[in-house]
C-alpha cells in the first residue's frame, strides 16, 4: 500500500496547493489568536472559520485531485494490484497530506496559544472533518465521469453541510417550536458532521450556558466522556460510510 501512497504524496506535494493551504491556516490561526483578547475567544473564532474553510478546501481539492489522477489510476489498474488498494492509497494520500497541513496550520498555533482540552477537541474535529470531506469528495468523483459535474456535486455537498443544513434545522425548530425537540435536535446534529464538531467544541467553552434547554441537554450528554466518545464514533461513521460506498462504486466500474 505505502508504495503507491508515496507516489500520490509526491504528486500532491509538487502541486503546492497544500503548502498554500498550510500557510493560509497558519496565518488565520495566528491572526485570530492575536486579535481576540482571550485564548477562548480566539478558539471560538477559529472554530467558526475552520468549520467553514476546511470542508470546502478538502472537498474541492479531493475532487480535483481524483479527476487529475485518472491517468495514474488507469496505469495502475492494468498492473497486478487490487483496485481497492489503488483507491485507498489515493484516499489516504489526499487526506493525510491535508491533515498534515491542518496540524501544522492550526494544531501548532493552538498548542502555543490555547493548549487544553478545548483546543484538542478543535484539532480533532478539524482532522475528522478533513477525512470526512475528502471521503465525500471521492464519492462525488466516482458518481460521475464528468469533471465539471463532479466538482458541482462536491460544491453542492459543501453548501448543504455548511449552510443549507443549518437553515433546515432552524426551520424545523421554528415550525415545531411547541413540541419538545431536545432529542430531535440531538439526532439532527448527528446527521451533520460539521454541526457535530461545532457542538463538541462549543460545549467545552463556557458559551454553552447561553444555549437554553437544548444546550443543557447537550451539556449533559457531551459533557460526559461517554457522550464525547459517542460523538467521535459518529464522526468515524461519517468517514467510513462515504469512503466504503465510493470504494464499492470504484471497484465495480469500468475504467
Amino acid at each position: 500500500m505505502n508504495k503507491i501512497i508515496k507516489y500520490v504524496l509526491y504528486d500532491i506535494v509538487r502541486n503546492k496547493i497544500v503548502v498554500a493551504y498550510t500557510l493560509f491556516l497558519l496565518l488565520l490561526s495566528i491572526g485570530l489568536f492575536n486579535l481576540g483578547g482571550s485564548p477562548d475567544k480566539g478558539l471560538l473564532s477559529l472554530l467558526n472559520l475552520v468549520l467553514l474553510t476546511v470542508p470546502l478546501i478538502s472537498i474541492v481539492f479531493g475532487t480535483t485531485h481524483f479527476y487529475n489522477s485518472y491517468e495514474f489510476m488507469e496505469l495502475l489498474v492494468s498492473q497486478p494490484i487490487r483496485r481497492s488498494r489503488i483507491f485507498l492509497s489515493e484516499y489516504l494520500g489526499v487526506s493525510l497530506s491535508l491533515s498534515a497541513a491542518f496540524l501544522l496550520g492550526v494544531g501548532v498555533p493552538v498548542l502555543l496559544f490555547a493548549p487544553g482540552a478545548t483546543g484538542l477537541y478543535l484539532v480533532l474535529t478539524g482532522l475528522f472533518v478533513t477525512f470526512i470531506f475528502v471521503a465525500l469528495a471521492f464519492l462525488a468523483s466516482v458518481i460521475t465521469r464528468d469533471k465539471a459535474k463532479g466538482i458541482g456535486i462536491a460544491l453542492l455537498l459543501w453548501f448543504y453541510f455548511a449552510l443549507i443544513y443549518d437553515g433546515i434545522v432552524l426551520f424545523i425548530l421554528y415550525s415545531f417550536g411547541d413540541y419538545p425537540l431536545e432529542y430531535a435536535t440531538l439526532a439532527l446534529t448527528a446527521l451533520n458532521p460539521v454541526d457535530l464538531g461545532r457542538v463538541l467544541v462549543l460545549l467545552n467553552l463556557d458559551v454553552s450556558a447561553m444555549m437554553g434547554y437544548t444546550g443543557a441537554l447537550y451539556k449533559s450528554i457531551f459533557g460526559s466522556g461517554w457522550g464525547v466518545g459517542l460523538a467521535f464514533v459518529v464522526l468515524l461513521l461519517w468517514v467510513l460510510v462515504p469512503l466504503l460506498a465510493s470504494r464499492k462504486v470504484f471497484q465495480t466500474r469500468d475504467l
Binding site: 508504495k3 503507491i4 507516489y7 504528486d11 509538487r14 489522477s69 485518472y70 491517468e71 495514474f72 488507469e74 496505469l75 495502475l76 489498474v77 492494468s78 498492473q79 497486478p80 494490484i81 487490487r82 483496485r83 465495480t252 466500474r253 469500468d254 475504467l255
Partner: protein, 235 residues
C-alpha cells in the same frame, strides 16, 4: 492459455460484446481485427480487468480472472493511447511499475535500450510526443517477461524503424512460448507477424482461423483480399 466464455458487455443499450467465446493458446501471435467499435479494445480490457463484463467468464490457465489481480503479473499490456500522469518523469513511471511488480524475476530492458529511452529518463510524460509515449508503453509491456502480451494497435503511432524493432521483439517473444494478442488495422503487418486472425464483428467472433486457412478458404494470395472476400460473402 486464455479462454473467454460467453462474455457479454453492454454500454447503455449498445451491446459491445455479445456472448463472445474464444480460446487462445500459448506460442502464437493472434491478430484481432474488426471494424471500429467491434469490441476489440473492450475485449482486451475485460481480460485485464479494467472493464468488468456483465456476464460470462474469462479463464487464465484454467482459473477465472474476475475479481482477481495476481494473474496480471503474467500480462503485459500496451494500450492504444498510453495515458500517463503528466508530471511524472519516464524514470519514475518505470520505477513505480517495477516497484509494484517487485516479484518479477526477469527484467527485460531490451526495448528501453533499443528505443534509447535512457537518454530521455528525465523528461516529463506530459512533454512527450505520442510516439515516444508508445515506446514507453511498449517497454513497460515487455519488461517483466509476461506469459501473455496484449498489444492494442502497437505500431499506430510509431515511426517505421521503431515499428520494425517492435515486430522483431514480438516474433522473438513468440518463440519463447508466449501468447501475443495484437489488435491492428494494418493487414500487411498482420500478415507479417500473426499466426492466427480472429475477426470480431458486432461483439461476436466472425471467424478465427490461421492465416493459411483463411487464404485457402477465400482462394486468394493476399490476406487483405481474402479477409475482405470472407467478410463480404457472409453479409
Amino acid at each position: 492459455m486464455i479462454a473467454i466464455e460467453n462474455l457479454s458487455k453492454t454500454y447503455g443499450k449498445l451491446a459491445v460484446l455479445d456472448n463472445l467465446s474464444v480460446r487462445f493458446e500459448g506460442g502464437r501471435v493472434v491478430s484481432i481485427i474488426g471494424p471500429n467499435g467491434a469490441g476489440k479494445t473492450t475485449m482486451s480490457k475485460c481480460i485485464l480487468g479494467m472493464v468488468l463484463p456483465d456476464s460470462g467468464d474469462i479463464k487464465f490457465n484454467g482459473e477465472s480472472v474476475l475479481k482477481k489481480h495476481a494473474y496480471r503479473r503474467q500480462i503485459g499490456y500496451m494500450p492504444q493511447i498510453g495515458k500517463y500522469p503528466e508530471n511524472m518523469k519516464i524514470r519514475q513511471v518505470i520505477e513505480m511499475v517495477r516497484d509494484i511488480r517487485k516479484d518479477a524475476t526477469v527484467i527485460d530492458e531490451e526495448l528501453i535500450g533499443l528505443y534509447g529511452l535512457q537518454n530521455m529518463y528525465d523528461k516529463r510524460m506530459g512533454s512527450l510526443s505520442g510516439g515516444t509515449k508508445q515506446k514507453v508503453s511498449a517497454a513497460l509491456a515487455f519488461m517483466f517477461d509476461p506469459q501473455v502480451l496484449i498489444l492494442d494497435e502497437p505500431t499506430a503511432g510509431l515511426d517505421p524503424i521503431s515499428a520494425e524493432i517492435l515486430k522483431c521483439k514480438i516474433l522473438k517473444e513468440k518463440k519463447k512460448g508466449k501468447l501475443i494478442l495484437i489488435t491492428s488495422h494494418i493487414m500487411s503487418e498482420v500478415e507479417e507477424v500473426a499466426d492466427e486472425v480472429m475477426c470480431l464483428m458486432d461483439g461476436t467472433v466472425k471467424f478465427h482461423d490461421t492465416i493459411k486457412e483463411i487464404k485457402q478458404q477465400a482462394n486468394e494470395e493476399r490476406l487483405s483480399r481474402a479477409i475482405a472476400k470472407i467478410m463480404n460473402e457472409e453479409d
